[in-house]
């Protein structure tokens, strides 16, 4: 096997780097994380001419090699560390034809690292419309590099790029700019202290952590042998370097790059005038939000029903086909119920990621940041917090990661801490089933009480997020300068391929990430619920049968009969048969319930009951609440397992829940008071292990996720307590 060529793809944000990556690799790509950190690592394989293959690594977008964030730091580390297995044989710098000047800044820095570098000028299809002409040949000569003029939209220029990669050995490795002129004295001393190292590389290592905390220094650790400069001195030198590079670039572009100014304006200016307008801008943003919510709740209902039905019949099929036994029960009640609980979320998650990808791809998201910044600031947030807060309605995990674009650490920390209050899609199944149970029919101004309740829960989530942001803003004594610089990219028609890849990727990682936890919990629960050590558990059948014979059916079975009364009146002849069948089913359920009460899980539930009783819950809900501290969506699955209905079909669980009687009050367990109390608890409690794990990684300390867990859960408990005690 011939050696693969290692290629690093690097470029400014919004240059279409991802499109180039998709064009080169097609579906031959995988997304993971860099070890130990949550920076996304995208890599793929590209087939080159003459049977050669290239391993393409898509590095995080960056404006320069002067790092200001963890993502950028990853890119720089890789370029500096020759021992890294992914260290590139050749770097491809992707630039955008309209912003070539700015993109060349990064290009010259990489070129000066003596890495063979290819310049891709992307979006070539826009050139004629924007009145741009480039003398490619002259530019290649001036930059001493090869250039590929590419249009990912028209799919041109990719072949030339492949050729250039395959021929990487012929690329120049000489530096374009001598950086040492910015401080000759200092660079000379540097050279004397580390004679073996490349001077520009050293300079980058030294300045790595000027704007940002350091990753591990891989090239040199020992700087003691010469006097270092202060941070602000180094920063000033960085500014000098930037100016030096721009002088070089301006000189070259003057001869090679021409823009006809009259052609350049138009579409963008007109759209900006409307979309960032003081009034219309906000109206349009609001309408877009409404559309997104409508899509998530309206349109995803149909695929969700199909999935629900599929799992219900799959469970039944397995129960009827496989020989009865422990193994079959594990599959049907444990594993399948668990998987169903994850898969049901796919339509909603996919829709949400679709919209977020569309907003990002078109360039609209930056306009939202611009519009919202001043509004969010009094709450200690930034315009950039809007994106995480909106993403939080799908899932807090990607939302917390999306805060990385916020440069100000205090604003970023507050955003991370409050984002889990927004109503994520995992809360939805809990809301839907409780609302269906306890909120009465009827409507107000044409909106049903149920819809209104759901909407208030969303609003409450946002309100809680904003309020806690205000409090945190007061409490947190963090001094950090706000470096709010947002690029407003040109508007683009989204490339369907890119959007499709994003949606697929994000959905997949959600399903497998959350899926593992839910599945594991479902299996553990199933085991705890279907095993026990006491005599009551072992002899449940005889005990319950005797009890029913002596005292008749329990109150919950009576409700079960009532709710199924209508089934009896279909056909007179069948009534006695049907009646008998119903009684058998009720008996089986009572036995199952009795068994559960005396299983391991039953004893655990009884132990925590005193804590949840003031909120209006019994031990079964207590178990469901407890297990959903791993992940909220486990609630419905847990109740399904606990109520031993054998499948995860919501209608059936709902009927069983409606039939539950609170032994103390002799009234239905799920009534308005306990229902509202549950809804509020789920609205505010921090019940998601994965979010806590992500917060730990993003804040690099257990302090923040721990305080999140304590504060949110305590708050949820108090609110639920007050609600239940005043409504009861």
């Amino acid at each position: 096997m011939s050696k693969q060529i290692n290629v690093a793809l690097i470029g400014n944000p919004n240059t279409g780097k991802t499109s180039v990556f998709n064009q080169l690799t097609g579906l031959n790509q995988k997304v993971g994380n860099y070890p130990g950190i949550t920076v996304e690592k995208k890599e793929g394989i590209c087939k080159l001419p003459r049977g050669v293959k290239a391993h393409i690594l898509d590095l995080p977008g960056t404006y320069s090699l002067n790092t200001t964030s963890l993502d950028e730091s990853v890119a720089v580390e890789l370029l500096l560390n020759k021992n890294d297995k992914d260290h590139p044989d050749v770097a491809i710098v992707v630039s955008d034809v309209e912003n070539l000047k700015r993109n060349l800044l990064l290009f010259t820095q990489i070129k000066d690292l003596k890495i063979p570098t290819i310049l891709v000028i992307n979006m070539a299809d826009r050139m004629s419309r924007k009145g741009i002409t480039i003398d490619i040949e002259l530019l290649e000569k001036k930059l001493n590099s090869k250039i590929a003029l590419v249009s990912t939209r028209k799919e041109t220029g990719i072949e030339r790029l492949r050729e250039l990669i395959a021929d990487y050995k012929n690329l120049s490795k000489t530096q374009n700019i001598d950086t040492s002129v910015i401080a000759p004295e200092y660079f000379k001393r540097l050279k004397n202290a580390f004679p073996k190292e490349d001077i520009y590389k050293l300079w980058l290592v030294i300045t790595q952590d000027v704007n940002f905390m350091p990753l591990e220094k891989t090239v040199t650790k020992d700087t003691s042998s010469f006097t270092t400069k202060s941070k602000s001195e180094l920063k000033r030198l960085q500014q000098k370097e930037t100016i030096l590079r721009y002088q070089y670039i301006n000189g070259i572009l003057k001869e090679t790059y021409k823009v006809d100014v009259n052609a350049a304006k138009g579409f963008r200016a007109t759209l900006d005038k409307v979309l960032t307008h003081k009034v219309f801008g906000y109206v349009i943003f609001f309408l877009i939000l409404l559309t997104i919510f409508q899509a998530i709740y309206g349109w995803s209902e149909y695929p969700m029903d199909v999935i629900d039905g599929f799992f219900a019949s799959a469970t039944e099929w397995i129960k009827n086909t496989l020989p009865p036994g422990v193994f079959t029960n594990l599959i049907a009640e444990g594993i399948l119920a668990g998987i169903g609980g994850i898969v049901i979320f796919i339509p909603q998650i996919a829709f949400l990621f679709l919209f977020i990808a569309l907003l990002e791809e078109t360039g609209y998201m930056s306009r939202v940041v611009f519009l919202m910044d001043r509004i969010m600031r009094p709450f200690g947030l930034s315009g950039k917090s809007v994106v995480p807060l909106i993403s939080g309605t799908a899932c807090a995990i990607p939302a917390v990661m999306a805060t990385r674009t916020i440069e100000n650490w205090k604003e970023r920390l507050i955003t991370i801490l409050v984002t889990p209050f927004t109503t994520c899609s995992a809360r939805l199944p809990v809301y839907l089933i409780i609302i269906a149970l306890v909120i009465p029919e009827g409507s107000f101004l044409g909106l049903s009480y149920k819809a209104l309740t759901l909407m208030s829960l969303y609003l409450m989530g946002f309100a809680a997020a904003i309020l806690s942001a205000v409090i945190l803003n007061k409490i947190l004594k963090i001094k950090s300068k706000s470096f709010f610089v947002v690029e407003m990219p040109n508007y683009k028609l989204p490339l369907l391929k890119n959007v499709g890849f994003t949606v697929l990727e994000k959905t997949k990682s959600f399903v497998f990430g959350a899926g593992k936890i839910i599945l594991a919990i479902s299996i553990v629960l199933w085991f705890l619920g279907s095993n026990g050590f006491s005599d009551e558990f072992k002899n449940a059948e005889t005990i319950v049968t005797n009890r029913v014979e002596e005292n008749g059916f329990s109150a919950s079975s009576e409700i079960y009969f009532e709710t199924h009364q209508d089934e009896l009146s279909i056909n007179d002849q069948d009534i006695s048969n049907k009646q008998k069948e119903l009684e058998e089913r009720a008996l089986a359920q009572e036995i199952a319930g009795y068994k559960l009460e005396h299983s391991y899980m039953g004893y655990m539930g009884k132990a925590i009951e005193p804590i949840v009783r003031p909120l209006g819950y019994d031990w079964k809900i207590g178990i469901a609440v407890l297990t959903s501290f791993a992940a909220r969506e486990v609630f419905v699955g847990t109740l399904a397992t606990i109520y031993s209905v054998g499948n995860d079909e919501e209608e059936t669980i709902k009927n069983r829940m409606a039939a539950e009687i609170n032994p103390r009050t002799k009234k239905p367990l799920f009534n308005l008071a306990s229902g509202i109390s549950l809804l509020l608890f789920y609205a505010f409690a921090m019940q998601c292990m994965s979010t806590l794990a992500v917060v730990k990684r993003e804040t690099n300390s257990w302090k923040w996720p721990a305080s999140q867990l304590v504060f949110m859960s305590l708050f949820a408990y108090i609110v639920a307590l007050v609600a239940y005690q005043s409504l009861k």
Partner: protein, 81 residues
């Protein structure tokens, strides 16, 4: 008082003179916001903050507090409404 980016009206242009605060983020420079370059004000959000500018072909939004540190000479008085 020196004229700064924060004083520009919509559509107005200026040439950046200097930074009155020494340590503005390097990112600003990288995006092309350098002395000698032309700035055009594209849009201002309500309460005059943030400010959306076109500098040297780069379209960026910055907060008012930062704009106050970028001194310039106004070169064009025609205001587009």
């Amino acid at each position: 008082m020196e004229t700064t980016v924060a004083d520009l009206k919509r559509g107005q242009k200026g040439i950046i003179k200097e930074f009155t605060e020494n340590l503005l983020p390097i990112k600003l420079l990288e995006l092309g916001c350098l002395p000698g370059n032309e700035v055009e004000l594209v849009q201002v959000a309500p309460l005059k903050d943030p400010i959306y500018i076109n500098v040297n072909g780069s379209h960026i939004a910055i907060r008012r507090e930062m704009a106050l540190h970028i001194a310039l000479d106004i070169i064009d008085d025609t205001v587009v409404i």
